[in-house]
């Protein structure tokens, strides 16, 4: 298929895919009509070949029915993925609308085609498929990517809001709709109270994940972010529990009357189902964490353990009629902490990506299915019911937000402002969950199911499209009134400094208001849980364990590369500076500010950037790595000089700036896998053998890498996977060719292969001769002075 070629022209691509889909539909139709007589033969075709010798073997046969469902599902997912690519190609579009809008539109288009060509929509969704296969990945992903610490710091407010909010909404909407149904003029008198309550429970399942992306961009405060995240996480579970209980009541109501005892039992059931689900989840979480303790030799199955145990917790809870959703959420939250420490880096990445992928597929399917079922004859449009549903959804959300937050604000150290509450109110976007629940209503119990589905769809469309698109501007308007005035460099710098300062002080004060509780848990965790659940040979130091995943060693080496070069030329620069013209053009000032804004470190965020549909590269991790390494480097530097860091001595002042860049190109243009430079200048450091290793030849690289890795395992440097900001060698060398290189001139370029005392004299001649040959050399004699002294000789030009 030639899809990738058409990717830049997304309308074309869509058309093409639709055509492809259409063809498959048509062929299925064709298949059905032509083969209808020979249907049974097709079904037994394997048997037919052997048992009935008189049947001819056809050269070309079409058996679409055999593959129909997976085939169409695959095409759908493919279609949605391609639509997403198109969606993100135009970079401003994702800022304008949430991605769910796009999925719904694609679904509606497919639906229109299916409807236009008179096909029946394929049976993708029924109750068991939804609850057993589509829902768990979505919930699991939410639980796994939840920022644990901020969540537990706000857990009281989150439980209060997400739990009670869902209940108030469900009953509020249900009861007020019931009142509306009593009015004869609307023709709704056959809808009884239970059905209304059920509808209320399903329509109150909000899915504000789309809003999170907006929040992140607008930098809303952390508690607000966590409230929305917590709601997204827990709301589904609560709505589904309520939904199931009400379905049970409705069934009962068909046959006998409901007595007050039953209602009490229902309430008790609600509690048991919720608490039991969480309990199951925690147990399974611990078990899976415990098992990953022993997987160090067979790390390929680590992701499998994680997924299977999560799913098992879901199924086990469902077997006992407990809430599987809450179980799988609790399982993910529990095991995450321990599993992440146990599993290997690659498994960790696999788990993350696989989880994103599964949930993304599930949600895509639901949204597309929603689009498909939007268009069709299965609707009943009742103006009164739909309008009132829409109105009540908003009213009850407002009531629950303002009432519940009024109460919880009394207990909070710092309350939610009215602005925050308005944003929470406005973020009540309904999503796939509501639709699925409405669609799965049993027709036998709900004669007016069509009307419910229509009303649900209207609410979803309204909230996703109108609220989803306008919430970004609203948040920006309410939160920060940005001045368009250009800031001076001073302001730019000072403001960022203050941001870092504030973040640092916040970390010093800590944000958790119940230290005793947390300390107790920490003690318990350290004394018992970690000992049981986490592999033994873990690094002890807290910083090391925190950044274990950051591949420190590799990067430290790269930073050390820089020291040599910078110390070599910092002095000439000092002198040069005086000669520089003091006047700067406005463009220069502009570009300076640009450099500053782009390259100053971002203030740390504890809520890692979360996107339902994608895993972004975490810039914060890279940054953290860089800062850590630079600091460690400073420490070493001062150790080597024989004095400890005195008070007032600025940390990180040691010059380790080494990678160079012209003004016009502040971003690294690309990585260069074949030029690596990594001398270890720090010979006094006992743990690393001092080895200098330079490569600049493309041909020798393979052999050389092998050699290096064999002999100097400490230095094994995956050249392909370097962080991009460490690899600009190509840039600088290009620059040199252009004759624009300024400071690079003095830098020891990767132009010599070996620095070895014995061969030093041959260095100059050998350098030219052996362009295609690479050598390495172990310099076991610690002699830093030597390197430094010779480095100016070793450069070309």
């Amino acid at each position: 298929m030639g899809f990738p070629m058409f990717v830049p022209f997304s309308p074309w691509k869509w058309l093409l895919l639709l055509v492809a889909l259409e063809c498959s539909e048509a062929s299925s139709d064709l298949n059905e009509s032509t083969n209808s007589t020979a249907q049974h033969e097709t079904n037994v075709r394997f048997a037919a070949a052997s048992s009935e010798p008189d049947e001819k073997i056809s050269v070309f046969a079409l058996d679409y029915d055999y593959v129909q469902i997976p085939y169409e599902v695959t095409l759908w997912i493919l279609l949605a993925s391609l639509a997403k690519i198109g969606f993100h190609l135009y970079h401003r579009l994702p800022g304008l609308m949430p991605e769910s809008c796009l999925l719904i539109i694609v679904g509606a288009l497919v639906g229109a085609i299916i409807f236009g060509t008179d096909h029946k929509s394929p049976p993708v969704m029924d109750s068991s498929i939804y609850f057993l296969y589509l829902l768990p990945p979505i919930v699991l992903e939410g639980g796994y990517f939840m920022p644990t610490r901020p969540f537990f710091e706000n857990i009281g407010s989150i439980l209060w809001w997400a739990g009670l909010g869902a209940l108030i909404n469900a009953f509020g909407i249900g009861l007020s709709l019931y009142l509306i149904c009593q009015i004869k003029a609307f023709g709704l008198s056959d809808v009884n109270l239970l059905q209304n309550l059920l509808f209320g429970s399903l329509i109150s399942a909000v899915d504000p994940v789309a809003v999170l992306a907006v929040f992140e961009e607008a930098r809303v405060n952390e508690p607000l972010y966590m409230m929305i995240f917590g709601e997204a996480l827990l709301n589904d579970g609560i709505s589904v529990v309520l939904y199931n209980i009400l379905i049970a009541f409705t069934k009962m109501h068909k046959f006998e009357d409901i007595e007050p005892v039953d209602i009490l039992a229902g309430c008790a059931r609600f509690v048991i189902v919720g608490v039991g689900g969480v309990f199951f989840g925690v147990i399974f979480g611990f078990i899976s964490a415990f098992i990953t303790r022993f997987t160090q030799n067979i790390s390929a199955i680590e992701p499998l353990i994680v997924f299977m145990f999560s799913y098992l917790s879901y199924l086990a809870a469902e077997t006992l009629y407990l809430s599987g959703i809450l179980a799988i959420t609790a399982c993910a939250v529990t095991m995450k902490k321990y599993v992440e420490e146990n599993v290997s880096q690659t498994s960790y990445t696999t788990i993350k990506y696989f989880m994103k992928m599964l949930s993304s597929v599930s949600e895509t399917l639901i949204f597309i299915f929603m689009g498909v079922s939007t268009i069709g004859k299965n609707h009943e449009w009742n103006w009164a019911f739909i309008c009132f549903t829409l109105v009540f959804c908003q009213i009850w959300r407002a009531i629950s937000v303002f009432a519940l937050f009024y109460v919880s604000n009394q207990f909070r150290t710092f309350p939610f402002s009215i602005k925050d509450q308005c944003i929470i109110f406005y973020s009540g976007v309904r999503g796939a969950g509501s639709f699925s629940l409405a669609f799965l209503l049993p027709l036998s119990l709900f004669p007016r199911k069509k009307m419910f589905v229509t009303a649900t769809l209207v609410v979803i469309y309204f909230t996703v499209f109108i609220q989803g698109i306008t919430i970004g501007p609203l948040v920006r308007y309410l939160d920060v009134k940005k001045t368009n005035k250009k800031e001076s460099i001073n302001e730019e710098l000072h403001i960022r400094l203050m941001d870092h300062l504030k973040a640092g002080i916040e970390d010093v004060c800590g944000q958790w208001s119940h230290y005793q509780v947390r300390d107790k848990f920490k003690k318990f965790d350290h004394r018992y849980l970690r000992k049981v659940l986490i592999r033994k040979n873990q690094p002890k130091s807290s910083i090391v364990s925190l950044y274990k995943k950051l591949e420190m060693k590799q990067a430290i080496e790269m930073v050390e590369t820089g020291i040599l070069s910078t110390t070599a030329f910092s002095i000439p620069h000092q002198a040069q500076r005086i000669h520089r013209i003091k006047r700067l053009s406005p463009e220069d000032v502009e570009s300076m500010r640009d450099i500053l804004t782009r390259n100053m470190y971002q203030v740390r965020q504890r809520t890692l950037s979360y996107n339902k549909y994608n895993l972004k590269p975490q810039t914060s991790e890279k940054q953290a790595k860089e800062i850590l390494i630079r600091r460690q480097n400073t420490l070493r530097e001062s150790m080597r000089k024989g004095h400890s860091l005195p008070w007032g001595k600025p940390a990180g002042t040691k010059n380790i700036r080494y990678l160079s860049f012209p003004y016009g190109r502040p971003e690294p243009a690309g990585r260069d896998p074949w030029v690596a430079e990594l001398p270890d200048n720090d010979s006094s450091d006992s743990e690393l053998p001092s080895i200098m290793f330079k490569a600049h030849s493309r041909t020798g690289i393979l052999q050389e890498r092998r050699l290096t890795q064999e002999i100097i395992p400490m230095k094994s440097l995956p050249r392909g996977g370097q962080p991009s900001h460490f690899s600009y060698q190509r840039n600088t060398s290009q620059e040199e060719h252009d004759g624009r290189g300024r400071r690079e001139v003095l830098r020891p370029k990767p132009l010599f292969h070996v620095v070895d005392e014995e061969f030093e004299s041959e260095e100059e001649s050998e350098e030219e001769a052996s362009a295609s040959r690479s050598r390495w050399s172990g310099d076991h004699r610690p002699n830093r002075q030597h390197h430094r002294a010779h480095s100016p000789l070793l450069q070309r030009k």
Binding site: M592, A651, P668
Partner: protein
């Protein structure tokens, strides 16, 4: 050099009393009786009130900070050392981490006691809405005033405490805060430019007055306030 406007904490009798008291209770604590040293019964109200009035933090906040202080104090020594603060993970990756820690240990102290801890944090208390004119002019300026907030930020730059940010000091801060992508040369010219821009009297350095001027349009009160420190 002690910056003006900072009252001497040690001079407040209640604090000293509190400290003595604290030590006593720490021992009690270690004996396993689990008494909170700020237990109202043992620690008279006025001590706590004085602390609260001095730092203007609410008593609840003080108590919270006290728990935090205890939590940071790893081996229950009764004071914090640099290492205690360095162990805060998030601070380790803060580009200004070391300098922030420095600001907790003024004048070369090696120990940080609780009043000192509070004194630093009190700079970050949000500014009250009430009219500042209502304040008694004889009282020292509260630590969270705009001036004191600015001064706190200023001393992060001003390492040698000469009341001026020299070009060199500016460059050091820039080195800390800017990623490795930017060349040394670029940084130097940025530092030059920054000093130039703010320098009004032409002495090649930024004085505190010039510093405040360059930030006069900024909402420093909001930038340097932490909501939980009421």
């Amino acid at each position: 050099m002690v910056l003006e406007g900072w009252p001497e904490v040690q001079g407040i009798p209640g604090w000293n009393f509190h400290q003595r008291h604290h030590r006593v209770h720490k021992d009690v604590d270690q004996a396993g009786r689990g008494l909170c040293p700020v237990d109202r019964l043992r620690c008279p109200n006025y001590t706590w009130d004085l602390g609260s009035r001095y730092s203007q933090l609410s008593q609840a906040s003080l108590l919270r900070l006290y728990h935090r202080f205890r939590a940071l104090d790893r081996n229950k020594k009764g004071y914090l050392s640099r290492v205690d603060l360095q162990q805060i993970g998030a601070l380790a990756v803060n580009p200004l981490g070391e300098r922030i820690i420095d600001s907790f240990f003024p004048d070369g102290n090696l120990r940080l006691d609780f009043p000192g801890f509070v004194r630093v944090l009190a700079h970050f208390r949000p500014v009250d809405d009430e009219d500042p004119g209502m304040r008694d002019p004889k009282e020292p300026e509260p630590l969270n005033s705009r001036m004191n907030k600015l001064r706190f930020a200023f001393q992060l730059y001003d390492l040698d405490r000469d009341g001026k940010i020299s070009r060199h000091e500016m460059l050091q801060v820039l080195r800390l805060m800017v990623g490795v992508q930017v060349t040394e040369e670029q940084l130097e010219s940025i530092a030059d430019r920054t000093v130039q821009e703010a320098d009004e009297d032409g002495d090649g350095a930024v004085s505190f007055l010039e510093f405040t001027k360059s930030l006069e349009k900024m909402d420093v009160e909001q930038k340097m306030s932490i909501r939980i420190l009421k």
